[in-house]
């Protein structure tokens, strides 16, 4: 009771007294975080967290000290160029003298092994395989269809920063940390071919009938890597390689604790 009263008094003091607030400006942010701890993950937290309405960037955290200089493979670089052209239609191709910073001419970039998104850690396959399996919204499906992008599973193989940091061209509020320059390279798993493998499709339907609890089947093969923003990642998945009717398939079960997967899949 005493503690709650003190907290209430302190909140009122910080709210009303500008001078007091200016003296403890650095502490206020930490204090707000601690106050919000009791409502983490609740609807109330979203309602009282004003940042939720203004900040469009995902909640990403990474260790700046673990950034290291590395070269992206040519194939990934080409996919990244394509991604940037779609994201920033005004960008010119490599080598254009007018705006050389807008292109991605060098494979050198800063890479990461892991980052944390909405409090969950994701890593590259080379760092920790089990934390690299994800379900994500593919930007490609969004471009080619009028329907909302359907989530698909894949494996994170690279996490890197935009070498030329195109993101500041977007409007960013002063003081707001902008993480849009973090990109994730994902190898999507290949989906089943219903016409070619009817037995597998039947078993896949058996799983899908149970919705978010049953999971689904994918082929144990990768498609061409794609680049996504971290905010496109929905959750981790549990991956089980199975042999069904002589075919090697993967059972994918989303480990989504906020049912984002279901909301996007609808």
């Amino acid at each position: 009771m005493r503690s709650s009263t003190r907290e209430a008094n302190l909140q009122a003091l910080l709210e009303d007294d500008n001078e007091a607030r200016s003296h403890v400006g650095d502490l206020v942010e930490v204090y707000k975080d601690i106050l919000a701890e009791d409502v983490r993950g609740t609807r109330l937290a979203h309602m009282i967290d004003a940042v939720h309405f203004t900040q469009q960037t995902a909640d990403i955290v990474y260790d700046g000290n673990s950034l290291r200089e590395s070269s992206l493979p040519d194939a990934i670089l080409a996919v990244f160029r394509q991604f940037l052209r779609c994201k920033y239609p005004g960008l010119r191709d490599t080598g254009t003298a007018e705006d050389s910073s807008a292109s991605v001419s060098s494979p050198k970039t800063k890479v990461l092994d892991r980052f944390s998104l909405r409090g969950v850690q994701y890593t590259t396959a080379s760092r920790l395989r089990r934390d690299s399996h994800v379900v994500f919204r593919s930007p490609q499906s969004q471009e080619t269809s009028t329907l909302p992008p359907s989530p698909g599973p894949g494996q994170i193989i690279h996490i890197f920063l935009d070498p030329h940091d195109h993101a500041p061209r977007c409007s960013v509020s002063p003081g707001q940390r902008n993480h849009t320059s973090v990109y994730v390279c994902v190898r999507p798993y290949a989906s089943l071919q219903p016409g070619q493998e009817p037995e597998l499709s039947n078993i896949d339907q058996m799983y899908r009938r149970f919705g978010f609890s049953g999971g689904f089947l994918y082929r144990n093969e990768f498609e061409t890597p794609i680049i996504v923003e971290p905010s496109s990642i929905i959750s981790h998945v549990a991956v089980t390689p199975l042999q069904i009717c002589g075919h090697g398939v993967l059972h994918i079960l989303p480990m989504d604790r906020v049912r984002l997967f279901t909301r996007f899949a609808q």
């Binding site: 009771m1 005493r2 503690s3 709650s4 009791d38 409502v39 993950g41 609740t42 609807r43 109330l44 979203h46 969950v120 850690q121 920790l128 395989r129 089990r130 934390d131 399996h133 039947n202 078993i203 058996m206 799983y207 009938r209 149970f210 919705g211 978010f212 609890s213 049953g214 999971g215 981790h236 549990a238 991956v239 089980t240 390689p241 199975l242 069904i244 059972h251 079960l253 480990m255 604790r257 906020v258 049912r259």
Partner: protein
């Protein structure tokens, strides 16, 4: 069980999911923790059981058992979401109610226990207090575990280990 164990060994789980013992269900392993049961029921059993019991050529009784089990899995998963809406609470109530109804017809000798009754009311708890993690006992269970690992002389209040801060906690709790 062999099929479940085989699939379990192949499943790659994220690092934040605690792995269940590979020999669960045997006398050697003994009792499982609540979290172990949750991982087994929500992840490992659906992967194997749907494949084995979900086909058209499976006897009706087995199919009904699978449906019944999956109703429970869905209810537990919804009840453990970190963020929950009224619609999801209604979904929880739908699945747990269907689970209990078919449970009574499928397992006629099984007794309905107080936990089953409580589960039918858990929708009201979610509606009133929000997601499970905001009011679940996991924090206190962890704390009890850490206190149980301390040396003690079975005489409450007569000894205090100065290296430990456990004595501070009851004071802090009582003042809030």
């Amino acid at each position: 069980m062999e099929a479940v164990w085989t699939d379990m060994a192949l499943t790659e789980l994220p690092s934040w999911v605690t792995k269940a013992p590979s020999n669960w269900g045997t006398a050697t392993r003994g009792k499982l923790s609540a979290n172990n049961w949750r991982v087994i029921c929500a992840i490992h059993l659906p992967i194997t059981l749907i494949r084995l019991w979900g086909g058209d050529d499976i006897p009706d009784n087995q199919k009904a058992m699978l449906e019944n089990f999956m109703d429970l899995v869905r209810a537990v998963q919804i009840a453990n979401l970190r963020s929950i809406s009224r619609k999801e609470i209604e979904l929880y109530e739908h699945y747990i109610s269907r689970y209990m109804t078919s449970f009574k017809s499928l397992y006629k000798l099984a007794k309905v226990k107080p936990i089953h009754h409580a589960a039918l009311h858990y929708g009201d708890v979610l509606r009133g207090f929000g997601p499970a993690h905001t009011h679940s006992a996991a924090f206190y269970e962890r704390y009890i575990h850490s206190m149980q690992s301390e040396n003690h002389n079975m005489k409450l209040g007569l000894s205090f280990d100065s290296r430990s801060n456990i004595i501070l906690v009851p004071i802090a709790v009582s003042t809030r």
